[in-house]
């Protein structure tokens, strides 16, 4: 109970999107627009090897042939891909140590609540952080401590430079460039991201965390994350996202690939709080993300997400359960308010025998928002004894919002067992009255009830994130009841 109800009440007072500031940092940008030349320019800026440039160009060629998907339950003005700046980097010297980081940058991180201060490990905050601003990774902490264990945790660019064999082997192995429109786009123009490798049998002793921040106007953010957990290893990975308040829509199209080898486990948690646009639906981030993991024998991948931000979200963290006895989990809370639109869910692809998946999705919609769960459970022919349990609940907070459930269940094996349950209900007036009768204000009652409703998911988050997520839920739902 480190976070008290009073803290929550205090946070509730803070009605504005509190990450909406702009940092005054000098940055280097390339001209807007997308072409082969731009891609060559990005690649050159990053001093990339030829194979990576080839990879990008090939992806670009594929992307040109593709059309933007329209099946999701969202409506938005399609981005003009020639009106986006694809590379923007904070002008930086090479930071040799934390002391070299500019005060303005330190201030930015402080405002975001990120601590790069390695001293903090002594006070119990055991999180290694990679900070990605606009297009490039700015700083990564705890590198030396991790390297003692053979763990690689660095920016994607550094990974390309220092561990090309790993990157070459795994990049695109789970999300191929041909996968979808945004994955292809990302593969062509991605600028940075995080790379993480956990060697055989190593249990990563701390949470690894990447913090994504869009700062510059007119830019898109296209980062890639690649997490490879070698046999028998374990890692818990956290991801946070914020952006300044702007009237324009900015595009975020990321790719995340997870590889869990035999007996490995990856826990991937996201608290997504991109700027959602103002209360009239102006501005906000388009969050079109492809996240997928593959499980080898006895491996486990667990996705946990708390989605409160973005104007439009299009995201389906998925698990390919390739190895026998592998396990996939998806825990999600998606909150939409005002004019936000979210179409999110998961795909569980059962290929191996005795594979198991669990899906717990909690949608909360307020204001005039639309919130859809879209999930696929696919049992292939060889997936003997596969098991799936899905629970998708929707909570309605206003009479102008929409909550939708679109599960797809495909089964080709007669020994599989699939259970899907979904409910949609209104936040109980009786519950609110009960709380009020005990002296609790209606705003707080709602926050209590919603947090209770999301508990199964919030419990999956590491402690520090859970507190942040609780606060976020309360803030996001402010003025949601109509």
């Amino acid at each position: 109970m480190s976070y008290t109800e009073n803290d929550l009440a205090e946070d509730l007072q803070n009605q504005e999107y509190k990450y909406g500031f702009v940092s005054n940092l000098e940055s280097e940008k390339i001209p807007k627009g997308l072409s082969e030349d731009i891609i060559r320019l990005i690649s050159a800026k990053k001093e990339e090897p030829q194979w990576l440039l080839d990879y990008r160009l090939k992806a670009y060629a594929i992307w040109l042939e593709m059309t933007e998907p329209e099946w999701a339950h969202v409506q938005y003005a399609k981005p003009d891909f020639q009106d986006i700046i694809y590379y923007s980097a904070v002008k930086q010297k090479k930071y040799e140590s934390w002391d070299d980081v500019e005060p303005e940058m330190k201030e930015t991180m402080k405002k975001l609540g990120i601590s790069m201060d390695e001293q903090k490990v002594l006070t119990g905050t055991n999180v290694a952080v990679d900070f990605v601003m606009d297009s490039v990774s700015v700083a990564t902490s705890f590198k030396s401590k991790l390297s003692e264990l053979g763990i690689i945790f660095c920016s994607f660019s550094e990974g390309v430079k220092n561990h090309p064999e790993l990157i070459k082997k795994y990049m695109g192995s789970v999300v191929p460039t041909t996968d979808n429109f945004y994955a292809a786009l990302n593969s062509a123009v991605f600028t940075d991201g995080s790379f993480c490798y956990i060697p055989k049998g190593v249990r990563c002793p701390m949470e690894l965390s990447t913090y994504f921040r869009i700062n510059e106007q007119g830019t898109g953010q296209f980062e890639r994350t690649l997490v490879v957990a070698d046999q028998g290893s374990y890692v818990s990975y956290l991801e946070g996202c914020t952006a300044p308040m702007r009237d324009e829509n900015q595009l975020h199209a990321a790719v995340v690939e997870l590889i869990a080898m035999d007996d490995a486990e990856i826990k991937y948690s996201t608290v997504q709080n991109w700027y959602p646009g103002d209360k009239d639906g102006k501005g906000g981030i388009f969050n079109f993300v492809t996240k997928r993991g593959i499980c080898e024998k006895n491996a486990k991948i667990s996705w946990t997400q708390v989605e409160t931000g973005s104007a439009v979200t299009w995201k389906y963290p998925s698990c390919i359960l390739k190895g026998d006895n592998s396990v996939g989990e998806f825990y999600s809370v998606a909150v939409t308010n005002h004019h936000q639109q979210a179409d999110t869910g998961t795909k569980m692809i059962h290929l191996g025998k005795n594979t198991k998946s669990t899906i717990i999705s909690k949608g909360v919609s307020g204001g005039k928002s639309n919130n859809s769960y879209r999930g696929l459970v696919q049992i292939h022919k060889g997936a003997t004894n596969a098991r799936n349990f899905s629970q998708c609940d929707s909570l309605l907070m206003s009479d102008e919002c929409g909550a939708h459930t679109f599960p797809y269940i495909e089964c080709k094996n007669s020994s599989a067992k699939i259970e899907h349950e979904a409910t949609t209900s209104k936040i109980g007036e009786d519950q609110i009255f009960y709380c009020q009768q005990r002296g609790i204000s209606s705003e707080k009652a709602i926050s209590l009830i919603v947090n209770g409703y999301c508990k199964e998911v919030l419990n999956q988050l590491p402690m520090e994130f859970a507190v942040e997520a609780q606060k976020l839920l309360a803030i996001s739902l402010d003025n949601s009841v109509g």
Partner: protein
């Protein structure tokens, strides 16, 4: 798209066309759509799991068939019967003694009251709907049943559709109107005799008016080489109750579109379905309950057993419009897979825009409980009969929703015929 029919036949329909209730404008509209429309592919969300190659790569023709003995197809012995062969009413086989309070005629007759004219095609979407357009353009015949105000029908009315011949197409078009305070039970049976690779494209438009109670039992038992696409387009006015039980037991490819618009308050809608498949059958049930008015409830239960290389698709949608508060909608789909070569695709959907609602859906896919099978065997049942018993227990939930005894008995008879069940 018109390649589905020979061009001479289209001319035949157009020149021999009738001046019945299906207005010429609608036929023209449908023809226009058919000029450019393509068959949907699996990229079309509504057809994601059903490939239409079997239908689209064939040429069908209109044939006037005949059947001498219909006793095998009579579902209820205690009902008024209308027989349609290849989509055309056969008056010689149909009842002549229809009761008072019921208007029964053919859509090609010019009984044309203003009311019926305004109802035909009222809710049927033609844009992007190839089968609806095909039916509208080409329907030669079909029944109109109008249950007059305050009429309480003691006996059921059964529409017996029989498909015959090779590569025959039947574009049958029915209209059922249950007027204010009326009550009726209607049966639609789809059968085939000496039919191979023939195709029924049926559209039934149904209007359940204020405080009317209408129950429809639909039995599908065409040959396992035949195809069927059938649509029930339903509209419910306030305080009405509509129940439909769809039992699909045979057919190579069967697609049911059940679209129910609930436009009045305090309505009750029940949708039940059972499908038992074997061989290479493919059965696709698409249902949509569109709650436009408040204070209504809908209950949906679909259960299926798939064996061999068959495929079952369930896509049930509950749509609650913005002002349709206080809706209770429940939807459930349960499947048993008996073979590793069989496939289940289930997609229960909720799309909800009102806040004061209680909606839920559930979908399960699994096997027979082996423990229970073992238990039964330990009590002396053979494995085969133990399994049969378990399957019938599973599917009975739905069959028992059929209130009419005659229909229920007939369904059990079919189950025995096709699956060698004993009851």
């Amino acid at each position: 798209m018109s390649e589905l029919l020979n061009s001479t036949e289209i001319d035949l329909i157009n020149t021999n066309g009738y001046t019945g209730v299906l207005a010429a404008e609608q036929k023209q509209k449908a023809s226009k759509i058919l000029e450019t429309i393509q068959f949907p592919t699996t990229r079309t969300e509504a057809w994601k799991y059903t490939r239409l190659g079997k239908i689209s790569n064939k040429k069908f023709s209109i044939q006037k068939g005949s059947v001498s003995d219909i006793s095998e197809y009579v579902i209820s012995k205690d009902a008024y019967t209308i027989v349609l062969i290849n989509g055309i009413i056969d008056t010689s086989l149909s009842s002549t003694d229809l009761p008072e309070g019921v208007i029964c005629s053919s859509i090609k007759d010019t009984i044309s009251t203003e009311k019926l004219n305004s109802l035909v095609g009222k809710n049927l979407k033609l844009e992007n709907e190839i089968f609806h357009s095909l039916n509208t353009q080409n329907a030669l015949d079909g029944s109109i049943l109008l249950i007059k105000e305050k009429t309480i029908l003691e006996k059921s009315i059964q529409l017996i559709h029989i498909l015959t011949g090779e590569h025959t197409i039947s574009n049958v078009r029915n209209l059922i109107v249950s007027e204010k305070n009326s009550q009726a039970h209607i049966i639609q049976g789809f059968f085939s005799e000496n039919a191979t690779e023939s195709f029924t494209n049926s559209v039934t438009e149904i209007f359940v008016e204020e405080n009317a109670h209408l129950t429809l039992d639909k039995i599908q038992f065409e040959d396992d080489s035949c195809y069927q696409v059938s649509t029930e387009q339903v509209e419910q006015a306030k305080n009405s109750t509509f129940t439909i039980n769809t039992i699909t037991l045979n057919g190579a490819l069967v697609r049911n579109n059940l679209n129910i618009k609930v436009i009045g308050q305090n309505c009750c809608t029940n949708l039940n379905g059972a499908y038992l498949l074997k061989g290479n059958q493919h059965v696709d049930n698409h249902t949509m309950v569109d709650h436009i008015a408040a204070h209504c409830e809908s209950h949906e239960l679909y259960k299926g057993v798939v064996n061999d290389k068959s495929t079952a698709v369930f896509n049930g949608k509950v749509f609650v419009r913005k002002d349709a508060q206080k809706i209770n909608a429940f939807q459930s789909n349960a499947n048993v897979l008996l073979s590793d070569d069989a496939t289940i695709n289930s997609k229960p959907e909720l799309e909800i825009y009102a806040d004061d609602v209680k909606c839920s859906h559930g979908s399960t896919t699994g096997q027979l409980d082996e423990e229970a099978v073992f238990y039964l065997r330990a009590r002396g049942l053979s494995e085969k009969s133990a399994r049969k018993l378990m399957i019938s227990a599973f599917i009975d939930d739905v069959i028992n929703k059929i209130e009419n005894k005659e229909v229920k008995t007939f369904v059990f008879g079919l189950l025995q015929k096709r699956f060698d069940w004993e009851i």
